[in-house]
Symmetry: C2
Subunit: 83 residues, 2 copies
């Protein structure tokens, strides 16, 4: 079966997020004054062939822990759907 | 009312995505041989004060078009939920 995976990777809460801070500082200049807690990370989407959604999730966990995310500084969320 | 917005920004389909290609080349080296169509973009989350979910979405559209996304090369998806 074929699955689509969406992976969100964000800096852990409480850690400095300079990119998020830069955007938070830029928003008032384009007229948005009510935004807070801006955090910026990576978004990854991929298709994966696997026997089950669980196996696809295990593949994505491996990809996150070994390649995509820095677990000291980042957390990740994986969403799997059949396609 | 306060809303949380999640924004996914990805390179448009058909455009070259060198970061995605690099990850696609790296996955077989960690034992994942069945992945394809890897695309990498940005993920942004923020809290925003607005009168309605529609107004919060308008704020986020403005942020995407004026600050966060390069519309020539990237597309975006906005999700709003009340918090």
């Amino acid at each position: 079966m074929k699955f689509n995976a969406e992976i969100e990777i964000l800096p852990l809460k409480g850690l400095l997020d300079p990119q998020g801070k830069a955007v938070a500082n830029g928003l008032p200049k384009i007229g948005i004054h009510t935004a807070s807690n801006v955090r910026i990370g990576k978004f990854i989407t991929l298709d994966i062939e696997a026997k089950s959604a669980d196996e696809a999730r295990v593949f994505c966990e491996t990809a996150c822990t070994k390649l995509l995310a820095n677990l000291i500084m980042e957390g990740y969320i994986i969403r799997i759907k059949a396609i």
